[in-house]
Each structure stands twice: as structure tokens, then as C-alpha cells.
């Protein structure tokens, strides 16, 4: 027999305390009697008058003390027939994209899996194993179990994804599980990341089985589609950025196609560790653009990228204004913009039929009542309108500040030094945000504002464009602002969404549930959450459908860290072939489970003795 906590035996000193207590208690106890006359016949404790003589209570108290001390010391029997679990092992398997890299012996992930299976085979039959995948979101695939077959099955089923892997979080999970474990546990990491690149907090606490040697990879680092808001496919162009991650010159071919129709196929040569861009024009139509790399490299996940050329439907713009030069200017602008179809009507001639056939309504010096159920731009609203309460006018003002985060002002150079002759001073409605500011001697006031009102995008320019003649080539920045504002007001026409793998994308609204997904691997499942949320783990096309409503999500794997599969500090690969080369598993202390069991029994015995001692003490007192 041995003890898991031998230091607890030092509490045996409490026996001496108990004896002293008994002696002290005995010395103190005096009873006054009328006379010793009758006690002369009673045999006195003369020999042991001051010595200790245990009684039943003392024996019970000693037993209680013994049970408690042994319980703390946690005794256990050492023997060959101990069938309890001796240790726990936490397997952390890297499932990031780089693990798909092909080596001489096969894919890194397959090699890592093989090593994990080998380690598993070497474990004791009662050892417990936990399996954690270190992918985009670390996940405990199998909790501690002695069923090694279940672990094998789980290992066979997991696959790497086209995302980065969060080893830090996965190792933190593993470390937390190890600390919570009442058995000693060790962590084994199967990855292509060298130990020196692991988070410092875990670097020395894990056994690293590193796989992978090759750095041969050329990948598509980016695929950008340039298409103006009102431009159709004829004006669209694509740029494919290729990166050579290896330390040798790379060659290959890249094919860009629209749908199934090739647009361009070109060869390339990229020096080591350098990038190269390829521009593609003259797309024959709108749709999914696919760039496919053909190269003898190790990682295929970054050899394909997707883009989307938007089919442009013309935006119908209705200008409601008196016959003014502004109407002519807007007509000229629409004529120059292929995606704009402009009609005009006077305020008195405005009917509901006009509004039904309109995507954007521009009201000049006029705010209709009731408000139209259409996206609208109000230019220099009349003084008594209810939508933008006018508190006064200002003259000779300038644009002093602007909201650069709003899409209407994106990519626009500063609008300062834009003198305005006259403008309305309006009180901004609560639903709006100010786009352009100015101020006079007394207050600050908006010059342009926008927001969503009654479910419709609504904007307002407080100064008169006609008077300011701003829609001219001289005011290119304001012109761009105006066009951006029109683009923001135009209804959304996108049918496909382009995202990166691993990004959380909320989709919606979908009119019906459930929303079914077909992923690039042909797997079909339903999306959960409200709104439905998609996290694409693989590059490719995701088709979503819900009772007739269809959407397409194109996921690209653009991760230069994962694509750079070469490792700077490569540790010698572990050729796991025998127990002799296997890193030693920390020897567990003997029979923790049996000691815990013995401790529980001893504590139960202590409770029983305590109750018995209490009963005897009460009986003695009575």
C-alpha cells in the first residue's frame, strides 16, 4: 500500500494533542464531596493518578482522527490488477487549410492522422482520450473516453477545411481540460506548425508531432472585379493576383472563365516569393467569374477563386420639378450613364402611376403629401414641408465637414471649399444621419443628410443644385457625391455575394424557412439562426434556396499565412513507427482512482465514527 499524499501523515501529531487534551481535561475535573470518609474504602487511582488512561470515548476519537488522516493521505494499493484509467490524453489535430498540402508521403493531414492513430494504439487500454480539432473554430469532437474505437472513427471522419486554424484557442481548450482533469493528462498536437511558432503559453506544455516539409505553393491571393455601379458587364474587368510562396521560381497557367465559358488562359512565371497580377477584360456577359490556377504545387485550396459580374438593370429615376435647367442637367447626366433611365414630371402632374414605375424619385423644391413609397431624394425642399422642418435660410456657406464613412462619400476627395450661395437650415430628423455639415454665426446645420424612413431610403440636399450649378464638370467631387447618393438610393440588385472562407455572413431576409444550402462538396444542410447565417469553410459556390428564393454565395480562400506552407524553423519530422521513438507519456501517479475511492470510504468511516462518538459522549454526560 502507498499514499498519494504522504505529507498528510504529518497530521498524526494530532494524536498527541488529543492525549494532552484528555490529560488536561482530567486534571481539571474536580468533584467536591461532603467528606472523604466514605471514599477511603474506594480504591484510588494511585499509580496512574496523573497518567493517561484511555476510555471508549478516547478510542473513538482516535479512530476518527485515524480515518481523517488516512483519508487525507489517500492510500492506495499498488498491484498489477489495477484496471482503472491511468492517464488521459488530449489530441489536438490541426485542420487548417495548410494541412491539405501534399507531401511526398501524402497530404499533411493524412500523415498527421496516421501519427495520431499510432499514438492512440500505443496507449493503455484504460487511458482516456479527448479529440479537439484546431480549425477555424476549435471544437471538441470527442470528450474523454476510453473507447478508443470511437476516437479512431472520429479521426477518420474529420477533414481539414479551407480556412485558417486557431491553434492558440484549441490549445487553450486542451489546457483547460487538462487542468480540470482529476487524472494526469498530456496534450499531443498534430500540426504542420513548428513548436517555436506556437503561443508561448503552451509551447512547452504540449508534445508536438510536426508534419510537412514542402514550401511549394503558388496561390491566387486575390480576385477583384471592377464594375461601376451603373456599369454593365461590358465595362467590367477582373484582376487576378498570384503569389509564389515558395523559394523557387514558379510556373503555371491561369484560366479565367465566365460561367463555363473561358475568357482567358495565360501562362505565367513568378520569381520566388513574388506576386504577379493578371487583368482580364471583355467579359461576354454577367455571372460567376472563376479563376483557376494550374500549377504543380503542394496546396490546391488556393488555386481557385471566384468573382461576380453583376447583371445591370437600369435604374428608373423620376424627377419631380418645375421646368428648370436642373431637369435638363439631370437628363444629360442620365444620357451619359447607361444604367440610368430618367423621366420628369411637374409637381402638379405627379400621379401614383409615375411612382409605381420609379426606382428613385428626385423632388426638386417640393415635398409631396403623402410621402411616396419609393426611395427619394429631396433637393432644396420647400420651407413649409413636414419631412425636413425648415428653421431658416443661410447664405454664403461652405461645406465644413462630411461623413466619410457613408457610402455616398466613399472614395471621394474632400468637399471643402465648395461655396454655396444659399441653403435651407433644416432640423435633422431622428432617422437620418448628416452627410455634409456647415455652420453660421449661431449654429451648425446639415447640408445633406440621408437615412431610412418608413422602410425607404431617403436623402435630402438642402441647397439648390440648380442655383449652384454643381452638376458640372467643374465640381467633379460633388458630381461623384451626387452619383454615389443616387447609387445608394438605387435598389439592391446583387444576386451573388462574394465572401472569404471563415467569414460569418448573415443572409436575409428569406421569406420562408428553412433555408437549405448546397455546399461546394455537394453536402446539403439547413441554415440556422435568425437571420440565417452562413460560415463557409470551403472555397467554392454555396447555393441557398428557400421556397423559390435563391441566392448564391461565392467563398474564396485568400489567406497568405495558410498559403505560405513552408515553415521557417522546421523541426525534424517525427517518424512514428515504434514505441521506442514515441515521446514518453508522463507516468501517472499510482492508482489515482483507487486512492480516491479509498479516501471516500475513509471519510464515510470518519462520519460514522463521529456519530458513534457523539452518542457515547451524550450517554456519558447523561
Amino acid at each position: 500500500m502507498s499514499f498519494a499524499e504522504p505529507l498528510a501523515l504529518l497530521f498524526a501529531g494530532a494524536y498527541g494533542v488529543l492525549v494532552l487534551f484528555y490529560l488536561w481535561e482530567r486534571w481539571r475535573r474536580q468533584v467536591v464531596v461532603p467528606s472523604l470518609l466514605l471514599w477511603q474504602a474506594v480504591r484510588e487511582d494511585t499509580i496512574r493518578a496523573r497518567r493517561f488512561r484511555p476510555d471508549l470515548l478516547f478510542i473513538l476519537q482516535c479512530l476518527l482522527l485515524t480515518a481523517l488522516i488516512l483519508g487525507l493521505a489517500r492510500p492506495y494499493l499498488t498491484g498489477d490488477n489495477d484496471t482503472t484509467a491511468r492517464a488521459r490524453h488530449i489530441f489536438v489535430v490541426d485542420t487548417s487549410a495548410s494541412m491539405q498540402a501534399r507531401e511526398a508521403r501524402g497530404a499533411r493531414f493524412d500523415e498527421a492522422r496516421g501519427i495520431a492513430l499510432g499514438v492512440l494504439q500505443e496507449l493503455g487500454p484504460n487511458d482516456e482520450v479527448m479529440l479537439i480539432t484546431a480549425g477555424h473554430t476549435p471544437e471538441v469532437v470527442v470528450n474523454f473516453t476510453a473507447d478508443h474505437d470511437a476516437v479512431v472513427q472520429a479521426l477518420e471522419e474529420i477533414t481539414p477545411s479551407d480556412t485558417s486554424g486557431d491553434l492558440g484557442v484549441a490549445l487553450a481548450y486542451a489546457d483547460a481540460a487538462r487542468q480540470r482533469s482529476d487524472l494526469p493528462a498530456n496534450i499531443a498536437l498534430f500540426t504542420d506548425v513548428p513548436r517555436t511558432q506556437l503561443p508561448p503559453a503552451h509551447r512547452d506544455q504540449v508534445t508536438v508531432y510536426q508534419v510537412g516539409e514542402s514550401d511549394s505553393n503558388i496561390g491566387i491571393q486575390a480576385l477583384q472585379i471592377f464594375q461601376g455601379r451603373f456599369q454593365d458587364y461590358r465595362r467590367a474587368r477582373a484582376q487576378v493576383l498570384l503569389q509564389n510562396y515558395s523559394h523557387r521560381e514558379g510556373h503555371g497557367f491561369v484560366t479565367v472563365q465566365l460561367g463555363n465559358q473561358p475568357v482567358v488562359r495565360t501562362g505565367f512565371t513568378i520569381p520566388a516569393r513574388e506576386a504577379k497580377g493578371i487583368v482580364v477584360n471583355d467579359f461576354p456577359g454577367a455571372g460567376v467569374v472563376t479563376a483557376q490556377l494550374e500549377s504543380a504545387d503542394a496546396l490546391a485550396a488556393d488555386n481557385v477563386a471566384f468573382g461576380w459580374i453583376r447583371p445591370v438593370a437600369p435604374v428608373r429615376v423620376l424627377v419631380v420639378s418645375a421646368t428648370t435647367p436642373l431637369v435638363k442637367e439631370l437628363r444629360d447626366l442620365a444620357a451619359a450613364t447607361p444604367g440610368l433611365q430618367l423621366t420628369s414630371v411637374t409637381p402638379s402632374g405627379l400621379t401614383s402611376l409615375h411612382l409605381e414605375q420609379t426606382d428613385i424619385a428626385i423632388f426638386h423644391r417640393f415635398v409631396p403629401q403623402p410621402l411616396p413609397a419609393v426611395n427619394a431624394l429631396y433637393i432644396h425642399p420647400d420651407a413649409d414641408n413636414a419631412l425636413f422642418p425648415v428653421v431658416g435660410d443661410a447664405t454664403a456657406v461652405e461645406v465644413l465637414d462630411w461623413n466619410a464613412t457613408h457610402p455616398a462619400l466613399a472614395s471621394i476627395r474632400p468637399l471643402a471649399s465648395l461655396p454655396l450661395q444659399t441653403t435651407r437650415i433644416v432640423t435633422p430628423p431622428a432617422w437620418s444621419e448628416t452627410l455634409l455639415w456647415s455652420r453660421n454665426d449661431t449654429r451648425e446645420f446639415p447640408l445633406a443628410l440621408a437615412g431610412e424612413h418608413n422602410g425607404r431610403r431617403t436623402a435630402c440636399i438642402t441647397f439648390d443644385l440648380e442655383a449652384e450649378r454643381l452638376l458640372s464638370a467643374d465640381s467633379i467631387n460633388f458630381f461623384l457625391f451626387f452619383m454615389n447618393l443616387i447609387a445608394w438610393l438605387a435598389p439592391e440588385q446583387e444576386e451573388a455575394v462574394v465572401v472569404n472562407t471563415g467569414d460569418v455572413r448573415a443572409l436575409g431576409p428569406f421569406p420562408h424557412r428553412p433555408v437549405m444550402v448546397h455546399d461546394p462538396h455537394g453536402k446539403r444542410y439547413a441554415l440556422e439562426g435568425e437571420p440565417p447565417t452562413l460560415v463557409p469553410l470551403f472555397a467554392g459556390e454555396y447555393r441557398l434556396s428557400s421556397n423559390g428564393t435563391r441566392r448564391t454565395v461565392l467563398a474564396n480562400f485568400f489567406d497568405p499565412i495558410e498559403s505560405d506552407i513552408g515553415r521557417a524553423s522546421k523541426e525534424p519530422p517525427r517518424a512514428f513507427s515504434s514505441a521506442a521513438t514515441r515521446p514518453p507519456i508522463a507516468p501517472p501517479p499510482a492508482a489515482d482512482t483507487s486512492s480516491r475511492r479509498a479516501r471516500n470510504w475513509l471519510y464515510a468511516a470518519a462520519i460514522a465514527v463521529l456519530m458513534l462518538e457523539w452518542g457515547v459522549a451524550r450517554r456519558s454526560a447523561s
Binding site: R26, W27, R29, Q30, V31, V32, V33, P34, S35, L36, L37, L38, W39, Q40, A41, V42, R43, E44, D45, T46, A49, R50, R53, D55, S620
Partner: protein, 316 residues
């Protein structure tokens, strides 16, 4: 029970006990009792008949005697002369005053074990006997005995009337147990001021060497007192296991101590010692013509007054 442990405050216990005795209901019970006095050498006339005393005049005819020259002819029994043709003179039962002296042991031993409440019981017993005597128009004197008292005793004045009960009570309440036992010395000292033999009742636990209490009682017998001894005992004194199992037992009067474990054998030894003590006391009293009653505080005052003492002939 340990030093300082007591069931109740001793003074309060004594006061409560006396209050019970002097309650109207209990006094009515005591009205039925009479002390049996077989001899009194008091010359004062009283109401207590002397069973074997005779005098020339009286109420109750005691006996007859032959006529002697000088006898009072008024007491000639002419009926006896008519029948016996002999001159016979009637003699009458003598009635004398029979003072009662109550000697109460006030040594420290009477205060322990505290739960036995021997002192309140002794005071109650003394008060009850005093009342019985006063109701018989016999005077009563109370004497406390202790080595702690000046001259080893403290005596009350002679109480003659029932109206003296309150003063008698007040005197008793001044008595506190303390010091060593002074039965012999105290009684001897007390008798120097009270020479007239009468009735003496000694109330004590008699937990002294036999020669001490024998000397004390012998003093009284020698002075021709009618003596009664009341041995006060309590349940804890009978069964010390009520107090402890293993302890340092300390003598209440001398402070001497012994370490004792009350094993069954030791308990048996103690019981034998107690029995021997009581038997020796009984034997001495019997030889000396002293009435001995063992008054158990657990049995109660009424058991002693209305059963034990009448059974012994001390009360009727």
C-alpha cells in the same frame, strides 16, 4: 458536579424551603403532630405529659398507691377502699414543660453534593419540629454547629410562642454551612448555657469519624436529654455515579482529594462503606437509647415527618 456547580442558590433554596414549611396548608398538617417526650426533668409545669411521671395532683389518674401518713386525703380513692378495704391514694400523670433543642450541623459537608440540598432540608425539618413543639407550648431553641462559628455554635433565643415563628425563620436564614464539623465541641459548648435537660434533636449528615458523633451524642445522653438523631442524606450521596465517572474528589471541609474512577468495584466499595457508616450510627444510637431516623431529601419532608418519625415513635 464540580465546585461552584449547584442546582440552585443555597440561600434562595433555604428561603424557598422555609416558605413551603410555613405555608398555611403545611402548618395545618403539622397541627396533627405531637412530639413524643418520654422524659423531661424540667420542673416547670407544662402541657406535655410525662408518660412515667406521677404527681400528687392533676387531671389524668396515673396510678394508685397505698396511703402513707401525710398523703393528701382528698385523693383517697373511696371506690377502691370499698372494694379492697384498703386505703389507696390516687396519683396523677405529671405534665411538665419539655423544651426542644434543635442542633443543626452547619459544616461545609452539609452543602455538598449541592443537588442533595441537605441544608434546606435540615432547616425545613428543624422548622417543622419547632412548630410542633411551639404548638404544644413547649419552648424551642435552635443551635447551629460548625467549627467556623465562634465557640463552635450559634444559638437562638428560646422561642415560646407560635408567634415566634417569623423570628425563628429569620434566625434559620442566617445560618450558612461552612467550616469543618464541630458536633462534639459545638454541642458541648452549647450545653454550658443550657443545663436543663430536655429534648434534643441533632440534624446532621454525621460524616465524621464515629468517635466524633458518638462523643457529641454521648454528651446529650449524659445530660439526660431525650435525644433524637436525624441523619440527612441525598440521592447523590447514595449514588456518586450521578456526579462523575472519573474525577478528582475533594473533601468539602478539609480540601483533601483523591483520584477516583468509579468502576463497578469501586461503586460497590463505596456502597459498603456507606452502609457500614449508617449501621454503626444505628448501632450506637440503639445502644444509647437515641432515636435515629435517616431522612432522605429525595423522599421529601413529609415522608420524614409523617411516616418515618412516627414509625420511630418520635412523633405521634
Amino acid at each position: 458536579m464540580e465546585p461552584g456547580d449547584s442546582v440552585t442558590d443555597p440561600a434562595a433554596a433555604a428561603e424557598a424551603a422555609l416558605a413551603d414549611v410555613l405555608s398555611p396548608g403545611f402548618l395545618r398538617k403539622l397541627d396533627r403532630l405531637h412530639l413524643t417526650v418520654r422524659r423531661s426533668l424540667s420542673t416547670r409545669p407544662g402541657n406535655t405529659p410525662m408518660p412515667r411521671g406521677a404527681q400528687g395532683s392533676g387531671i389524668v389518674i396515673e396510678s394508685h398507691k397505698n396511703y402513707d401518713l401525710g398523703d393528701d386525703l382528698r385523693h383517697l380513692d373511696w371506690n377502691a377502699y370499698g372494694r379492697l378495704d384498703q386505703l389507696m391514694i390516687k396519683t396523677f400523670r405529671a405534665e411538665r414543660e419539655a423544651p426542644l433543642q434543635l442542633f443543626i450541623d452547619l459544616s461545609a459537608s452539609m452543602a455538598f453534593p449541592a443537588e442533595d440540598e441537605k441544608v434546606p432540608f435540615a432547616l425545613s425539618l428543624a422548622t417543622s419540629l419547632a412548630y410542633v413543639s411551639l404548638r404544644q407550648h413547649d419552648p424551642v431553641r435552635l443551635v447551629g454547629l460548625s467549627a467556623a462559628l465562634p465557640s463552635r455554635f450559634m444559638a437562638s433565643p428560646l422561642f415560646r410562642h407560635r408567634q415566634s415563628l417569623q423570628r425563628l425563620r429569620n434566625f434559620l436564614l442566617t445560618l450558612r454551612p461552612a467550616g469543618e464539623t464541630a458536633l462534639a465541641d459545638g454541642i458541648s459548648a452549647a450545653l454550658t448555657t443550657q443545663r436543663t435537660p430536655s429534648v434534643a434533636v441533632v440534624i446532621s449528615d454525621f460524616l465524621v469519624a464515629p468517635q466524633v458523633y458518638e462523643t457529641a451524642l454521648a454528651h446529650l445522653v449524659a445530660r439526660r436529654f431525650t435525644v433524637a438523631a436525624l441523619r440527612v442524606i441525598g440521592p447523590a450521596e447514595r449514588e456518586p455515579t450521578r456526579l462523575f465517572r472519573r474525577a478528582q474528589v475533594v473533601d468539602a471541609e478539609t480540601g483533601a482529594y483523591r483520584f477516583v474512577t468509579l468502576t463497578p468495584a469501586n461503586v460497590a466499595r463505596y456502597e459498603v462503606a456507606l452502609r457500614d457508616h449508617l449501621e454503626r450510627l444505628q448501632s450506637f444510637c440503639q445502644r444509647s437509647g437515641i432515636v435515629l431516623a435517616v431522612a432522605d431529601t429525595a423522599a421529601g419532608l413529609e415522608q420524614t415527618l409523617f411516616h418515618d418519625l412516627p414509625a420511630l415513635g418520635m412523633i405521634h
